[in-house]
Symmetry: C2
């Protein structure tokens, strides 16, 4: 919210204890505004499938979503910032952090980290088949679920790597958990 | 925004002409609030890949996102509502609408459709390899992109279908376009 206008900005996140953390450039308007302690809402949604019913009305999606409310605070001590950045990295690419050059002092200063306590949140989940009106079950036509999931393809190596560089296992096998339908 | 608290709610969407449309239950607090013409923000994000740099600092994501601002209006005439609902269905599952029972009058009344003109929007795209600091290119370790995409798996048929029901082609071949990295 800036002057009555809400902004919804995509960003990575991680959990540290009972808080969510996000990060970004010190120059980011979003982070500067949120760091002032205004009311904020963070939402994560995973789409697990398209639900095809016999009626248009009962079409739906299978999904898991969580909505978190509160006021974010700036994480200031360098050690706490580093811990949050490591959590963000490990949440997105487990195993990566120890393979890369850690942030130096200048980079840490250029990075803003915010924390949002997980005190007020609501989760919603839909799973399973379509639920049609009883009289519609006799209609002809197919009904069911098209399962959807995020998959990783083979890693694409940077053109400036030395010849015969081998991608690490966490990149070759990268996968996010997929729910059974 | 309800009483100073922003809400970020996942929902389907479609484009009708130069507007975005969303829909939901007439009882939905989100839709009733938005229909009053408050400032709203709609954001769509597609994640195309994880970008692994040589430094933690330069890790990134490849993505496409669009953020739309404005005030939504309620779509009231039944014909316009139907057109929007068909667009929502066809955007998500092309070919499905003509195979299912169309909404009846009661269902149409129970459905709220909102339209947001595409007058103020901003798009962001990141593609390509990591961009490291020049002095980091000599570091050992792998760098590159892990491409990510949404894929559909084999349709799961509803247990109440007659035996030997065949899933339609749009369900068997369901796919979303995937960007080249």
């Amino acid at each position: 919210m800036v002057e009555g206008q809400p902004f919804v900005i995509p960003t990575g996140y991680a959990r540290v204890g009972d808080s969510l953390v996000i990060h970004g450039s010190q120059a980011s308007r979003m982070l500067r505004t949120l760091g002032q302690g205004i009311e904020v809402c963070m939402t994560v949604t995973l789409i697990d499938g398209l639900v095809l019913a016999r009626s248009a009305f009962h079409h739906s999606m299978n999904y898991r979503s969580v909505v978190v409310f509160g006021r974010a605070t700036v994480v200031d001590p360098p050690a706490a910032k580093l811990k949050a950045l490591r959590a963000l990295s490990e949440h997105m690419i487990p195993g990566r952090w120890d393979d890369v050059r850690a942030p130096n002092e200048r980079e840490l200063q250029q990075t803003t980290v915010l924390s949002l306590a997980l005190t007020e949140a609501s989760a919603k989940v839909r799973t399973g088949p379509p639920l049609d009106d009883e009289e519609d079950y006799d209609l002809p036509g197919w009904a069911g679920v098209i399962p959807l999931g995020v998959v990783a393809r083979a890693p694409v190596e940077d053109a400036r790597l030395p010849p015969n560089s081998e991608a690490p296992q966490y990149a070759v096998d990268y996968a996010r958990p997929v729910l059974k339908q």
